[in-house]
C-alpha cells in the first residue's frame, strides 16, 4: 500500500465518521424543531438533549480534522477546491457557525427560544445539502479551467439533476441515520414513547434514502461514465450494503435489537461509502486532480502518518471514555445523573 492510499484512506475514514456523527446531530436538531411544531416536544426533547450535550463539540472536530488532513496530505486540493469552493464552503461555514453557537446559547443560556429552535432545525437540513455539493463537484463537469485558474460553473451545477439527487440523498440519509440512532438511544433510556415516535420517523425515511441512492447510481452512468464503470467493478459492495439495509430495517420493524439495527445501518453506509470512494480512485477532482499529482512530499507524508498514529493513542482512549460515560452508562442515559 502506498502512502497516497494510506493518506486518502485515513481521510475517507474521518469523513465517514463525520457523516455518521454529524447526521445524528443534524437530524436530532431537525426532529427537535419538528417536534416543537408538531407539539410532540415533551416526548423526545429530553432524550435528544441528553445525548447531544456532551458530544456537540466533538462532532465539529471530525470535520476540521478532515479538511486539515486533506490540505496536509494533498496540498494541491487547497489550490483547486479552495478556489472553487469559496462561495459554497463559506455558506457551510456560516450555517455551521449559527448552528454551533446557538446550540450552546440555548442549552446553557436562554432556554426555550422558538425562533432559535426553528433556525437550528433548518440549519440541520441545509448544512448537509451545502456540504454534499463538494461530492457533486468532485465528479467533474462543473469546473472550467481558465489557464491555471479553476472556476466553478454555478449555473450548470444548479440546474443539474445530479446535484439535486446528491442533495436529496444527503437529506434523507441525515434523517434516517439520526432517527435510527435515537430510537436505539431512547430504547436504552427506557423511554418507550420517544422510542416509538423516533422509530416511526426512521421507517418513514428509510424508503426515500435507498431510492435516492439508486437514482444517483443511475444518473452517474450519464454524468461520469468512467466512474460508473468502476462502480460496477465493485458492485458486490453495493449489494452487501443493500443487505445490511434490509437487515437494519427488518430489526427496526420487528422492534428488536435496536443496537444491532444501528450497527447494520453503519455498515450499510460504510460499504456504500467505501465502494463510492474506491471507484472514485484515483481522482480527487475529475479529471484535473488525482491523489498522485496532488500528494505532498514523502517526508511530510511520513511525519503526518506518525503524528496521526501518535494522536490516535491519545484520542481513542479519550473517545472511549466519552462513550462509556454518556452512551453506555445506563444511569446517565436514563437521566438519573
Amino acid at each position: 500500500m502506498t502512502l497516497e492510499i494510506v493518506g486518502i484512506s485515513v481521510l475517507w475514514l474521518f469523513l465517514f465518521g463525520y457523516i455518521i456523527v454529524a447526521s445524528i446531530d443534524f437530524g436530532a436538531g431537525f426532529f427537535s424543531a419538528y417536534s416543537e411544531i408538531a407539539n410532540k416536544k415533551h416526548v423526545i426533547h429530553q432524550v435528544i438533549q441528553r445525548y447531544l450535550s456532551p458530544v456537540w463539540e466533538v462532532t465539529n472536530v471530525f470535520l476540521v480534522f478532515f479538511f486539515v488532513g486533506m490540505v496536509g496530505f494533498f496540498p494541491k486540493t487547497a489550490y483547486y477546491y479552495g478556489t472553487i469552493l469559496l462561495v459554497p464552503a463559506s455558506i457551510s461555514i456560516i450555517l455551521l457557525a449559527i448552528r454551533g453557537s446557538y446550540y450552546a446559547f440555548s442549552t446553557y443560556g436562554i432556554k426555550d427560544n422558538k425562533a432559535y429552535m426553528f433556525l437550528y432545525g433548518m440549519t440541520g437540513v441545509f448544512i448537509p445539502a451545502s456540504l454534499s455539493i463538494v461530492l457533486t463537484i468532485s465528479e467533474g463537469g462543473f469546473v472550467r479551467m481558465d489557464g491555471r485558474e479553476p472556476a466553478l460553473l454555478y449555473k450548470q451545477l444548479f440546474v443539474s439533476p445530479f446535484t439535486w439527487s446528491v442533495v436529496l440523498l444527503s437529506l434523507t440519509s441525515v434523517l434516517y441515520i439520526s432517527a435510527n440512532f435515537l430510537t436505539y438511544y431512547a430504547n436504552a433510556a427506557g423511554d418507550d414513547r420517544a422510542r416509538d415516535l423516533l422509530r416511526q420517523y426512521a421507517l418513514v425515511w428509510s424508503g426515500p434514502t435507498i431510492l435516492s441512492a439508486l437514482v444517483i447510481i443511475y444518473q452517474l452512468k450519464h454524468h461520469n461514465a468512467e466512474h460508473y464503470t468502476k462502480m460496477m467493478d465493485v458492485s458486490w459492495m453495493f449489494v452487501v450494503s443493500f443487505l445490511f439495509f434490509v437487515l437494519s430495517l427488518y430489526l427496526l420493524i420487528k422492534k428488536r435489537y435496536f443496537g444491532w439495527s444501528f450497527i447494520s445501518l453503519v455498515l450499510q453506509y460504510a460499504f456504500a461509502f467505501y465502494a463510492y470512494g474506491i471507484s472514485h480512485y484515483p481522482y480527487l477532482l475529475y479529471p484535473y486532480l488525482t491523489i498522485y499529482d496532488s500528494f505532498t512530499n514523502r517526508t511530510m507524508a511520513v511525519a503526518l502518518v506518525i503524528a496521526f498514529i501518535a494522536g490516535l493513542f491519545l484520542l481513542v482512549p479519550s473517545l472511549f471514555l466519552l462513550l462509556k460515560l454518556f452512551l453506555f452508562d445506563k444511569k446517565y442515559v436514563k437521566g438519573q445523573v
Partner: protein
Amino acid sequence: MFTYDPVLFSRILTELTLTFHIIYATIGVGVPLMIAIAQWVGIRKKDEHYILLARRWTRGFVITVAVGVVTGTAIGLQLSLLWPNFMNLAGQVISLPLFMETFAFFFEAIFLGIYLYTWDRFNDQKKHFLLLIPVAIGSSASALFITIVNAFMNTPQGFELKNGVITNIQPLVAMFTPAMPTKVAHVLTTAYMTSAFVLASIAAYHLFKGNRHPYHKKALHLTMKAALIFSLATIVVGDLSGKFLAKYQPEKLAAAEWHFETSTHAPLVLFGTLDDNKDVKNAIKIPYALSILAHNQPSAEVTGLNDIPKEEQPPLYIHYLFDLMVLIGIWLTVIAALYWAGMKKGLAFTMKKSFLLQLVWSGPLAMLAIEIGWYFTEVGRQPWILRGYMKTAEAATKSAHVDTLLVVFSLLYIVLGIASVVVLTKMFRNNPVERELEERAFNQGGVSS
C-alpha cells in the same frame, strides 16, 4: 467604494475573522487554567466559594468556547479558501503542526464535554478536578501549535525553494523556527494574563457596584494575583521578543520604532508624528532604550529602515500599535502590582471606587492589547505572507465574490458578538451568586439530613 480586488478583500476578511476569533480564542486558552486554579484552591481550602467560582466561570466559558469553535472552523477553512496559493506551497512544509493542532483541539473538546456533564457524578471533587487538566493542556497545546504555524510565516525555514519547486523538506526544522520560542511564550503568557484580568474585571465590577460579598473579594484577590504573575512573565517575554525582532526581522522593529538610520546608542521613540521628510516630531525619546531592547547594550547597533529595500518595508503606522501594546501592558502590570501591595500592606485604597474602576477596565484593556499586538505583528511582516518567499498579493484567491462574503461574514460576527454578550449577561444576572450559594447550601443540607 472599492473596485473589486480579491487581494484587498481577502486581507480584510481574514483580518475580520481573526480579530473576532482572537477574543474567544484568548479566553479559551486562559480561562481553563484559571478554572483549574480556582477549583484547586477550593479543594485545598475546602471553601465553597472557590468551587462555585470555578463552576460559574465554566458556565460562562462554554458560551465563549462555542463561538471560539465556530470562528476557529471558519478561519481554518478560510485559509484554503482565501489563500489557496499560500496553502498549496506552505501546506507541504507546515501541515504537521496544523494537523497536531486539531488533535489538541479534539482532546480538549472531549474532556470539556466530560467535565461539564460530570459535576455531580463523582463524590470526590479531586477526581473531577483531574478532568480539567486535559482541558487546560489541550487548549494551551492548540495555541502552541497554531502559533508555530504563524512563527513559520515570520521566519520560514526547513525547506528549499528553487524555481517554484519545494525540496529538501524538514518538518521539525520548519516547526522549531527562530520566531517560535518567543512567539509561543508571548501568546501563552498574554492569554493567561488577559483571561486573569477579564475575570478580575467581573469581580471588580460587582465590588464597584457596592456588593461586598466575600465571594467577589476572594475572586478579585485570586485573579489579581494570577494577573500580576502573568504580567511580569509577559514583560520578560516581551523583552525577549524585541531581541528576536532585532536579530531576525529588523525591518519590523525598525518600522515599529521609526528607526530610519542604522545607528548605535539608538533611542526608543514614544508616540509622536512623522512629517513629509520622515522626521519624527513631538515624540518622547528615551535614550539608549532601543539598543538595550534590541541587544541588551546601550551602545549596540540597531538596523534602520533605510537599509531595507523600499518594497519590503512594512507600513509605518505600526509604530502606534507597538507603543499602545507596550503601554497597556505596563499600565496593567502597575495596577496589578499596586493591588498586590495594597493587599499585603493592608492599605484600604484597593476597595476605593476610583481604584476598582481601573480594575473594571483592566480586562477590556488587556483584550485590546491582544488585538493591537496581533495587528502589529501581522501588519509588521507585510508585504510578505511568507517572509522572504511569497508576497501576500501572490497568495490570495482570484475568485469572484470575496466582497460579498466580506459583508455576509461581517453580519455574522456582529450577530454572534451581540448574542454572546447578551446571553452571558442574562445568564449571570438572572442567577446571582447569593442565590446560587443559598441553593447549594440548601441542597447539601438536604442530602446530609
